[in-house]
Symmetry: C2
Subunit: 467 residues, 2 copies
C-alpha cells in the first residue's frame, strides 16, 4: 500500500514538474532576450544575460534570462544577444520643428541669432505644415539615435503633438508664449485660448503631456507668466521655460525687475511644482537653493551653451544641491545642430571636467543617469519612464556592441558616454511599440520626409532673399 502510494505520488510530481511551467507561463506581447540589460534603477543593476518582459505598454518583468524565460510566453521575441538594452534617452529641452532650420545661422551670439535670423525666419516660414514636417524630421533623427521622450517648446504645438504620436514618440509638449506675435497666435488672448484647447485635446494621452511654455523671463511679462502658472494649475500640466541662459538676460532682468531671473520667477509666483527650467547657466547658490525648494528640474544643454557661448551651467553644484538635472539638445538651428543625446552625454561630462579642471567632476555613470532616470525626474515622469523596472512604460533602446568603436568595453557607462554613437542604436521601442528595428524606422516614411525637408530648405532660402 505504502509502496503504491509512493509510486502514485512520484508519478504525479513528475507529471506536474513537466506540465507546470507550461501552464504557468504568462502570456506577454514582447520579450527582449539575451542582451546585457542596463536598468538605471536605483541600485544600478546590470544583468549580463537579461530578459525584459513587456505586456502592452508596460514592462512586466526584468531579470536574468535563465529565470524569466521559463515564466513568460512572448508573442514576439527580440533576440538581443551581444547587444545592450537600456532605457530610452530623454531629451529634456528642444524645439523639434526647427530641424528644418538646421544650421541656418551658425557661429553667432544668441541675441544676434535670435533677433536677426531666427525670429525673422520663423515669422516668414513657420506654418502648421512646417511644424508637421519639421517634427517628423526631428522624430526620425531622435528614433535613429535612441531618444524615446522629448520636451519641446514651439508653436502650433498641437501639430507637434499629432506628428509626435504619428512617429510613436513620447513628448512633453509646451505651446510657446511670447509678448509679441508668434507664428501661430498674434495676441496674448489667442495664445491663451489656443493653449487651453491644446491641453484639453491631449490631457490624458498615453504619449503626450501637454504643457504651457512661456519663452523666457525677458520675453514674457510677469502678468503673462502668472497667467501661464494659472493655466498650468487649472489642468495640472507642467510649465517649460528658458531661464538664466545668458549674462545679457541676467542684466536685462536685473535692470527691469531688480532681481535675478530665478528670483524674479519666484517673485511673480511662477515657481511651483512641475517647472522645467532650460539652461540655468547664470544661477548662483541662492538661485540653486530656490530651484531646489520648488523642485524645479533643470534641462542642461551643453552643446547649445558652448555653441552660442552662453556660459557653462554649474551642473555639479546643482547635482550636489540635490536638484534634478537632465540633458537637452536645444534646437538644431545654430545651437547644436542635431538631436543626438549620446553626444550630449559626452559633452556634458567633458564640459564639466574642463571647466572645473577635474577629470572626476561628472563621471560617465552620472551622464548616463542625466540622459535617462534624472531626465525623467526633471519631467516629473520618473514613475513612468527613465529606467527598466517592473510596472514602468516599455520605453527602451537596444544598442549594437560589435562596431569597431564599441570594442573592447571595460565599463558600459564609459562606453555609452565616450565611444558609442547615436548610429549604434539598433532598435527603439516606445510604449511597447517597436519604432525602429535594425535601423529601419517602421512608423515613418523616411525618403518622403527627407524630400520634404529639401523642399522646405529651398522655400526658406527664397523667403530670406525676398525680404
Amino acid at each position: 500500500m505504502k509502496r503504491t502510494l509512493f509510486i502514485v505520488v512520484s508519478i504525479c510530481v513528475f507529471i506536474l514538474s513537466i506540465a507546470l511551467p507550461a501552464v504557468a507561463q504568462e502570456p506577454i506581447d514582447l520579450a527582449i532576450v539575451g542582451g546585457t540589460v542596463l536598468t538605471m534603477d536605483s541600485e544600478a543593476h546590470q544583468i549580463q544575460e537579461g530578459y525584459v518582459a513587456i505586456r502592452k505598454d508596460r514592462i512586466v518583468d526584468v531579470g536574468p534570462k535563465s529565470r524569466l524565460e521559463r515564466l513568460y510566453h512572448p508573442r514576439q521575441i527580440i533576440n538581443a544577444k551581444g547587444q545592450l538594452a537600456m532605457p530610452g534617452l530623454i531629451n529634456t529641452h528642444t524645439h523639434i520643428p526647427m530641424s528644418l532650420f538646421r544650421g541656418i545661422a551658425n557661429d553667432l551670439t544668441l541675441q544676434d541669432w535670435l533677433e536677426h535670423y531666427i525670429f525673422p525666419a520663423e515669422a516668414r516660414n513657420v506654418t502648421r505644415d512646417f511644424v508637421h514636417w519639421g517634427t517628423l524630421l526631428g522624430a526620425l533623427e531622435m528614433i535613429k539615435s535612441g531618444t524615446t521622450t522629448f520636451a519641446d517648446m514651439y508653436y502650433f504645438e498641437d501639430e507637434v503633438a499629432r506628428s509626435t504620436k504619428q512617429a510613436g514618440l513620447r513628448g512633453v509638449l509646451g505651446e510657446t508664449w511670447l509678448d509679441f506675435p508668434a507664428p501661430d497666435n498674434k495676441t496674448f488672448e489667442a495664445m491663451e485660448a489656443f493653449t487651453e484647447k491644446f491641453i484639453q485635446e491631449f490631457k490624458g494621452d498615453p504619449l503626450i503631456t501637454p504643457a504651457v511654455a512661456p519663452h523666457a523671463p525677458f520675453t514674457v511679462s510677469p502678468e503673462h507668466l502668472k497667467a501661464a502658472r494659472a493655466l498650468a494649475d487649472k489642468y495640472g500640466v507642467p510649465l517649460l521655460i528658458h531661464v538664466a541662459e545668458t549674462k545679457a538676460e541676467e542684466q536685462q532682468i536685473e535692470a527691469k525687475y531688480h532681481a535675478r531671473p530665478v528670483q524674479h520667477l519666484k517673485n511673480v509666483g511662477f515657481l511651483e511644482k512641475s517647472v522645467v527650467a532650460a539652461h540655468c547657466v547664470w544661477v548662483n547658490d541662492t538661485d540653486i537653493a530656490i530651484l531646489k525648494t520648488f523642485d524645479v528640474g533643470c534641462a542642461h544643454n551643453p552643446s547649445s551653451n558652448m555653441m552660442l557661448a552662453s556660459g557653462v551651467a554649474p551642473v555639479v553644484k546643482m547635482l550636489q544641491a540635490g536638484m534634478d538635472v537632465g540633458l537637452g539638445t536645444d534646437g538644431p538651428a545654430g545651437s547644436n545642430n542635431d538631436f543626438d543625446m549620446l553626444e550630449e552625454m559626452d559633452l556634458a561630462s567633458k564640459l564639466q571636467k574642463i571647466t572645473l579642471m577635474d577629470p572626476k567632476a561628472l563621471p560617465a555613470r552620472s551622464a548616463v543617469a542625466m540622459a535617462t532616470i534624472e531626465g525623467a525626474k526633471v519631467l516629473k515622469l520618473d514613475k513612468e519612464i527613465g529606467s527598466l523596472e517592473k510596472g514602468k512604460r516599455a520605453d527602451l533602446i537596444i544598442l549594437n556592441l560589435s562596431h569597431p568603436n564599441e570594442v573592447p568595453s571595460y565599463d558600459l557607462y564609459g562606453s555609452l558616454v565616450y565611444s558609442i554613437k547615436g548610429c549604434d542604436v539598433d532598435t527603439t521601442i516606445v510604449n511597447g511599440h517597436i519604432l525602429m528595428r535594425h535601423r529601419n524606422v517602421l512608423t515613418l516614411n523616411e525618403p518622403e520626409i527627407i524630400q520634404k525637408a529639401r523642399e522646405f530648405h529651398d522655400r526658406i532660402l527664397e523667403s530670406l532673399k525676398t525680404h
Copy 2:
C-alpha cells in the same frame, strides 16, 4: 573651287567634332562623379556637380562634371550624386594600438591615469601581437569614420606600419622613446637602434612616413632629445612629441630646467623643421612665437584635453600667430575614447567658443580646415594631401547627405562640423585605393578583428587582476 574647298573643310570639321572627344579622352583609373566636391583648396572651391579624376595614386583633375566627363575615360566610376566628396580627414595625434585599452581607465587625471593604469597595463600587455590587432581595430574605426591619414606615437611602430599598410591607410608613425624601459625596447641603445632600422625599412614608402617620437620633455632627457633630433636629421624624418599638455608638466620642467617646456625644447636644439607638437595647452605668447619661428605644427586634441582636464589650448591665438594647427583624437584609453575626427571638429569649435565666450571664435570652416589641409601642413604633407587638387594623392572620402541629421543643409562646413557624423561616411579612398564602399571595409576582416579585440579584453582584465 572655293565652294568645294568650303564643303570639304566643313565635313572635316564635322567629323573631327564627333571623333575628337572620343580620341582625346584620357584613360584614368577612377572617377568620382556627380557629387558636391569640397576641395579645401586655397580658394575654398565648392563644385556643385563635380568630377574627381584619379589615375593610380594621384588626383589628375577636379572640376565640374559637365566639363570633365568628356575629357576622361575612367576604368571605374563611383556615382556620388547627392553625396559629398572631400579630402580624407587627418588625425595629427594618436596612439592607435591603444584601441585595445579603449576606456580602460576613464574619469582620471593624466598623472594618475598614466602612472597607475596605462603604464602598468602596457607593461603587462603590449606585445607585437597586441600592436598588430590594436592597429587593425583602430584602422577599422578610422576608415569607417573618414580618416585617411594619422600621426601615431607608440611601441613596435614597425608593426603599426605594417598593419597600417594592410589597412591601406596613410601614417606618419613615430617610434616612442622614453627614459625608462618600454614594452618593446628596454634600453636607450635598443630604442635608438630599433628606430633606425624602422626608418630604414619604411623611408620612401608610399603610405608610411617613419618618425622618431620622444614621449615628452618630462619623460625624455635633454641628451636623448638631442639624439632623437640627430636621428631625425640623419634621415630627414619628422619628430613627434607631447608638449605642454598639463600644468604639472610645466611646473616639473621649470623646476628641473628653469625653462618652460617649449623654451626647454628650443634650448636643447630639438626644435627645428618637422616637429609635430601634440597638445600645446600650456603655451604663452613667447612659446607661440618660438613654435612659429621653428615652424612647429600643433596637434590639438580637444576631446583629450577636456576629458583629462588638462586645460584648453589657445588655438585661436596660435592660428592668429600663423601657426599650423591640426586636430587629433589622442588615444582611446580614457582620453577620448574613439578615433572620430568629425566629433573632434565639433568639439574644437565649441570648446574655443565657450572658452573665449565668443560664438565666432572658431567657425565651422576653420574646424574643417584643421581636420584637412591644416592637418596636412602640421605633418608637412600639404604638398601631397589635405585638399582635392590636381597632382595630390587621391585620399578622399564620400559622405552621405540624405540621413535625417544631414538635412536640410544651409552650409556644408557647418553641416560637417555640427551635424554630420562619422557613420555618415559612405566611402573611403586612400592613395587611389577604395578602402571602404557603402560602409563595407574592403581591406580588413571586420568580424575577425572584433573577435580578437574581445579576446585581448579578457586577457588584459586578467593581467590587471593577477599583478
